[in-house]
Amino acid sequence: MDKSFRLQRFTQYGIFLAFALICIALALSTPRFFTIPNLMIIGTQVSINALLAFGVTFVIITGGIDLSLGSMVAVAGVTAAMFAHPDTYPLLVPLFAGLAAGVFFGAFNGFVITKSKVPPFIVTLGTMTIGRGLALILSKGRPISNLSDSFNFIGGGNVFGIPFPIIILIIAFMVCSVILNKTVLGRYMYAVGGNEPAARASGINVTNVKMWVYTLCGLLSAVGGILLTSRITTGQPNAGAGFELDAIAAAIIGGTSTSGGTGTMTGTLIGALLIGVISNSLDLLNVTSYYQQVVMGIIIIGAVVLDSMGKKDR
């Protein structure tokens, strides 16, 4: 029986091991990798993808999927930017507007998915397109710039030398971990993803749980969107295109199974860091852009292969 414990522990640590190996290899190949400023930069670069990945981890744990992440980033970012011009509204207004846009969008996903029998893949593919269109309509197809300094601080500022996005990332990680591990809602997410009929038969309101996860996913995407907007000091209607794949990849690399019922925030964080570290170091090593893509693909597959070797005899 302790055999299974060993297994579980290994599967948790497998990707961590792969990640550590890659970091060591990088540290050996370029001295620039393991410097405080570079690590800060990686942290900042990873933050947005990690936020989205946290959100989609909730969704995937319940057995769903969300392809509209990238569009939610754009909608929330553009909405926030619309209220973030200097000397117009206090900072809370753009923040609230952006988050509200994300929450609303996410809740809409949840609503359609739970009310219709349409698979989440199609619903969120549809809202991905709709969201992109909305972001373009809201911004009339043009970047919204000239944002207030206080708004721009969110993505560009430092607190005690630590970039603000990293602080947001850490807070989000802790909150999401707590939700997943310490709350009733988190428990229900695993139950719904692990066996939906059994969850229902245990008295769980499955619709509620699903509404929650898609809404949370929208909220986290909105935080990502605000961060991005503030970092590049512009609300971009085409921001976040393709982010969904990176976020889903981070979650799956981190051990979340697309069939639902498993996954941890720590795993997802490592998955996001893995992707971030690779793309950072390929730049540091000045790998030609064509080859960057090839190497990126190989390392990602390789890391997960390494991870899954421990699961062989299950």
Binding site: F5, R6, L185, Y188, G194, A199, R200
Partner: protein, 499 residues
């Protein structure tokens, strides 16, 4: 009778834990050889090695004088060993005929070799129809598998195994999902096979069946070979003690409970195509048995009471208050608990731990605001593990890794923690070994003694007779009798069940 299959020194372990330790086994031509042992003894693992689904760590398998080595399922099937698996292994979207001949399309297509990649569904439909008819089973070969009842699926699996014209057929708990009528059919088939010289390895937790059908019995315990004896030399008691390692005398515990207040009453309950005009009541401390043949509609009644399905008409009253349970959530809030016959499908969440499963239906008692009350949860789980004697490495063990009997106890524990006043148990001992069965019976009795009203649905008549205070008999969705435990006999129940 010559030996067709001989196994020696067979061992297998999963991540270091021995599931099979030096097993010996010999099968003669034309015999029915029962393989007995508690849940987790290693029976299925052994059989999966024989069929080629698992590779042994060491040991030798000789089949018809030739060693079976590195064989895969395809090979073994062609060599003449086929198997009915314990878990129902069907492809839901394919038809009955397509399932029966799955993997053997090329053989039955009747086409020339170069064209053997082409399907011949007309021929396979015809062959399947003949086969099912020969077996005396009324199933449409063109129906999609997913629309069949579990019992029908099981019959299709049996058909699939015997259609292979195998020399050895392994049957791993073939009767766990079917009722007496189908069991009779199966036994007729087995006897028929015997006369044709086919050998059968038969696994079941139902003692009566073992003595009715088997010639030889081999017992495994904790992955070890214990003994092989002729069935005629053994009796039930000695077999049980060989399996369990101790004696169990009174299978069914005595009733001490007093009939209390009215807990649940059902009036004129109907659901189109499933059941109609069902009337009964259960009192606190009482066990009401539901008997009937497969497809009589017992599960459907339970599902409606528990809010999994909607009724068309009729009334459900709890403590004389009319209720409508639209969802299981409401039913739980109204004090009803349901242990489903479909353990895997509706019972537990395989990837979650014993603790998480046990407390899943009672989070309202185990929370502080939005947070889980960890210590409360652990306390409840510890108590359940002790009370129900759940055999597990710990409360964090995943339920998938538990044996069937212990999985069942976890599900019962989950229902109990929600502190229901009425519990519906649907086939509570399906696939559970004698030892665990005995414990579950004791548990059910003690619940009734504590004043809980119990409805027990079961296809095992001895169980119904041994446990129930009153017995409701159903036939084709209609209630045909309510018998008291004094008047009820197997014959009487059967009479009403086929009425």
């Amino acid at each position: 009778m010559g030996t067709i299959l001989k196994v020696s020194n067979l061992s297998k372990s999963f991540s270091g834990v021995k599931a099979l330790d030096n097993i010996h086994f010999e099968l003669k031509r034309g015999e029915v050889h029962a393989l007995m042992g508690e849940n987790g003894a290693g029976k299925s693992t052994f059989m999966k090695i024989l069929i080629g689904l698992l590779a042994p760590d060491s040991g030798e398998i000789i089949f018809e004088g030739q060693e079976l080595r590195n064989s895969n399922v395809g090979d073994t099937l062609r060599r003449g060993i086929s198997m009915i698996h314990q878990e129902i292994l069907i492809i839901p979207e394919l038809t009955v005929a397509q399932n029966i001949f799955l993997g053997r399309e090329k053989e039955i297509s009747g086409r020339k070799r170069w064209a053997s990649g082409w399907l011949n569904d007309i021929s396979s439909d015809k062959k399947a129809a003949n086969l099912l008819q020969e077996m005396g089973v009324n199933i449409d070969p063109k129906a999609k598998m997913k629309y069949l009842s579990v019992a029908q699926m099981q019959m299709v699996e049996i058909a699939k195994a015997i259609s292979n014209e195998a020399k050895v057929i392994i049957m791993d708990e073939p009767t766990s999902a079917i009722s007496d009528k189908e069991v009779e059919t199966l036994f007729k088939i087995i006897k028929d096979l015997k006369t044709k010289g086919v050998s059968v390895i038969y696994i079941s937790h139902k003692m009566d069946e073992i003595f009715e059908i088997s010639d030889t019995i081999t017992v495994l315990r904790d992955g070890k070979y214990i003994a092989t004896q002729s069935a005629s030399e053994l009796d039930k008691q000695s077999l049980i003690s060989m399996m369990v390692g101790r004696e169990i005398d009174h299978m069914f515990p005595e009733s001490n409970s007093e009939k209390g207040e009215l807990a649940l009453s059902v009036r004129a309950l109907s659901k189109k195509g499933q059941f109609s005009d069902i009337n009964f009541e259960v009192h606190a401390g009482e066990i009401l048995g539901f008997a009937g043949l497969m497809g009589a509609g017992r599960t459907e009644i339970a599902r409606v009471i528990f809010g999994l399905d909607k009724q068309d008409s009729g009334e459900i009253r709890i403590k004389n208050k009319s209720v409508i349970n639209k969802t299981p959530r409401q039913a739980i809030e109204n004090g009803i608990g349901y242990v489903s016959e479909d353990r895997k499908g509706l019972g537990f969440i395989p990837g979650m731990s014993v603790k998480d499963n046990t407390t899943l239906a009672s989070m309202s008692h185990h929370r502080k605001g939005i947070f889980i009350n960890k210590s409360g949860e652990e306390a409840s789980t510890t108590k359940m593990i002790a009370d129900l004697r759940i055999k597990t490495a710990g409360m964090d063990q995943k339920v998938t890794y538990l044996s069937g009997g212990n999985q069942q106890k976890v599900v019962i524990g989950k229902v109990l923690l929600a502190s229901p006043e009425i519990i519906i148990l649907d086939e509570p001992t399906r696939g559970v070994d004698v030892g665990a069965k005995f414990e579950i019976y004791k548990l059910i009795r003690s619940l009734a003694d504590k004043g809980i009203a119990i409805i027990m649905i079961s296809s095992e008549l001895p169980e119904i007779l041994g446990m129930s205070d009153r017995i409701l008999v159903l036939s084709k969705g209609k209630q045909t009798a309510i018998l008291t435990s004094e008047e009820a006999t197997q014959e009487l129940i059967m009479k009403y069940a086929v009425a």
